[in-house]
Symmetry: D5
Subunit: 146 residues, 10 copies
């Protein structure tokens, strides 16, 4: 079972159950963004969690194996066209160099890891219209001097 | 005075003072990321703040005007090559579709605004290595049904 | 049923009925451009409207569900080659910076929303040759100062 | 005097006068979008109008000549990165095929001209936030059968 | 029947008859380039001509309908690799700006229409090697001053 | 004197004289498209013609030498954005495969030369709007069988 | 039978016979590079040779017809990634302008034809390691002065 | 002295002397293609040859040093637009896979070196039109099995 | 059996056996990176090794033949999006010119062969976190002076 | 002093001294690849080392400051054209997926860091031709499960 078939299988079971990603994630005991990315084939999920997920959704051990495979990550579009995804590309285009300045001032030369990294998406109530809060949390990695 | 000359002028004054973006931002009364993006020519700064900034750095009114101009935003590179900036591109490539799924579940069809939007960069102390925390906060904009 | 199958099903039913998009839209109670974009898989249609559309065209509830899904939007071609679609790309290339100047003068720094947005296509009779009138109406979104 | 020098000259005079594009356009007797596009070097302005414009701004006859030259149109970026300009690209990506369907149904095979074409930008007051209204008006050109 | 299946059906019938595009076009009463482009799915052919074409080739009414559909035009390759097609790209690269200069001098600012447009391909006998003569004939469209 | 300086020199002299490309070409004894392409640096002009051109325009022998140099041809934009030049790109996109079919039927496998090639631009009067007639005439080159 | 199926059929028969391209070419009476390019669908092979080829390999007349069709030439990759093919791209990148200089000096303005053209690949024995000798032979085509 | 200034210096001296690349190469004792590529900044020329070249052309030792520097090779255009250079790109597009097949049959898996490599350009007299003969000679490099 | 089917067959057998690439490579008697690249269709494996591999995995002679075919190498993505593969692209972007400087100083003008080349991946234990050690070993190839 | 001026200053001093990168690096007490990348503007060099470098080369404190700035890294070319640098791109294209497989098997899901990373270039003597040995050593970073 490849990642594509895995995603379709999980999506169908999720639709049957009528569960949200948050509800599935709660049963697996992990963050909803991580669980979603594993189910969409962009992260590998350790077997112990894959077993909880498939138990909850009533899926076979093949899905556990497929979830555990290290995937080829990323997409085919260099510049995304979907408006929601594009906004993150735009933020990088507009604020990328500013964030670079600030991180270098606060930490020195290095980067924010995108591997030792977590991502949260939250809803913030606001009378003028609710807000999406995306929190990225990555280890600072200083460049090695050698 | 165009944006390029404006940035060079501000950078030189900043180096002379030996101030960080945080210190400058505190004197202007705005967020450091916003102040940096205005100084790098990616945001327009209202004159009332521009005057505080130039007063602090000892710069002319021309800089106030240049800061107030609405800039052509974004950069020339479709895919960034700087490792720090690239990591944000990578996050969009790897987690973009997951974030899309979660936002649609929590809010319905629409996007997180990149305009009615704020961005913070913080340092989180951690014994295993300090962490960079980037918080994006944008108004949810539902697609209009017409 | 994915968006592709949904579009094919609707197109076949539309051809059988011999209805135009305008006639279908009138029965749904929405604008023809919006209805077309939902049927082509570029917008999500709320179930209450999807039910009217499928009732009119004699289609199943699966189509209602498929119409309600939030789609991956946009197309694969960065620069369109179809001459009709290309003209809109050309307008952006030739007049984009002018429109930017005018909007900034009239509204300040910000953008016209493409989300809180409607689009109309009308026919204007003209003895020298009828004219296409495309009206875009989007909320102005000022950049947040933070 | 090439187009680049012409734009800089006009921009400086405009800033000195403190006039908006609307005010300049009123003195020239043409639409503000057209006048802006001519001043930015994307349209050619007939000499009779160029003379009014330079008279108002106190500029030389060289500017009249430069405005009359047929320019190389368009910009270097295939996909714009400025958020305001990008929204028009996004509209073409998301609604382009829908507009194509509607125009073909209303007019048959052909296109909306981007040459025999006018473009207006208006402000529509709205208690929930003012709106930008962009109206494109182009002659329908049917494909010749030969 | 989509355009792809339509093209295959026509090509098979054409091969069976052993007719050239010129012979088919003569029976339809249209220019061979136009007939070919309609059969390859790049133009829409009005039903009255589609009926003559299908009558001659012994094809069904489905083909008439498929020929009448307004197609998505153009190809996937931004720069063609086929040597014959590439030469037209090369001509535009090498002589495009010269043709622009000449048309502007002869007609003023505007373009040659590619819609109200005909294209002929002829063979010119020449003792030093026969020549291909391609004649493009498009209405001049002056830019509207508004 | 490089090609860029050569073009500027010729353009200035041409503007001073107030001559069209047709008038210059008549004095040189060559086709206006060819003369224009040589002056824009896209063709090399033999010295005997370069001398006539510089004599007419009152230019130095350096210009004769610069005109005679074999240039690097073509432009930097893979897809042109100028609307007039783009229409030729669009014609290749839409009709390229049809022209290929017709040429192969009339001549066999091979191409129309873009080197042993002439190009004419003419104005055809028409009560419904004058027309641009572009005639390309290239030697047919059959593929060698070896 | 399209070109793809044709190539597969020929490759299978070639593998069954255990023949090299050189051995097949010898039976057809043409150059191995030409025969290979025709079998890979990049050249059209006249029927008289196609019949010899199919007779030798025991293939049907359909293959003869498929070989005779004028193909869409070239590949999808603008920059090849296969190391062997890339080296020819690299040679053009590194030595292309030098070859241009030399050809212009020896022949004047014009090009080496890639149509009236032959290509040979030979093995040259060498004690320090055998060498590949690729010989390109194309008619010089002078630019027409018109 | 960088490579750009070096090329300009050599070109000016070459023009003054009125020598061809062949004549210069004869005095240096190397192949004209190699000498041209060194002078255009695409190859490094050992000092012993650089001294002969500068002695012949009457140039300074700075030129010898500049010629000896290992250059950044290749050009900025991924797909060349100059017709002469493009033909080599086209040959790779059309015949690249055939050459790959033949080399693999004659030599096994590996490539023709573009480093241990020579390139010659010759003129072959031919009553039907002289021909350009380009000979590439590169060491075969077998892939290492490890 | 093409390379794609070959890879799938080997991957399935490898999963059944539960062997790592290292264990398979040990049985074949070659380096794990080489064996993996051959199994993924990026290298050709001589039949003597292919037979050992298929014997160990219990696969047919067809797999031996498929492994021996010289493949079209490389992938479709010009810039990789998978984070692990991207890091090697980043290293080339950031350190490519430095490595070029060092190699030229140590060896003169030339390159490191990617053909007469081996690649090793090792695990280095480290109390601060184990390290990946990638060793590339390629023959230096000096540019030929001719 | 920006990075460009800094590189030129260092290169001139290095040429004057006649030192290799290895000799400079020995005086600074760091690896030659790192020192070269800092001098080429691709790494930031801590002031304590920058002072040793400038003391050795006889350069001013401005160079120390310029070396310490965190640079925008990477180059403008997505695919390098210089043959030496391209070979590293080719290695990533051909062996990238194999290295990914091996690292995942040896370490699990994660990447080799390009930040906590060192790079060495060595010369290995070999009677059949000396070899370049490039050793990359990066910390393994496991993906965080959250």
């Amino acid at each position: 079972m490849d990642k594509l078939a895995m995603t379709e299988t999980i999506m169908a079971a999720k639709a049957d159950k009528g569960w949200s990603w948050e509800e599935i994630a709660a049963q697996v005991g992990l963050n909803p963004v991580f669980v979603t990315s594993a189910c969409l084939g962009q992260s590998s999920m350790p077997r112990e969690y894959g077993e909880k997920l498939t138990a909850a959704l009533g899926l076979s051990g093949e899905v556990v194996e497929a979830l555990a495979v290290c995937p080829m990550k990323g997409t085919e579009q260099a510049v995304p066209t979907d408006p929601l995804v594009y906004r993150f590309y735009e933020i990088m285009q507009v604020y990328g160099t500013s964030v670079k300045e600030i991180i270098h001032e606060k930490f020195g030369d290095g980067i924010m890891s995108a591997i030792d990294f977590t991502l949260d998406v939250d809803r913030q109530e606001d009378p003028k219209g609710d807000r999406v809060v995306v929190t990225m949390n990555g280890k600072f990695l200083p460049y090695k001097i050698w």
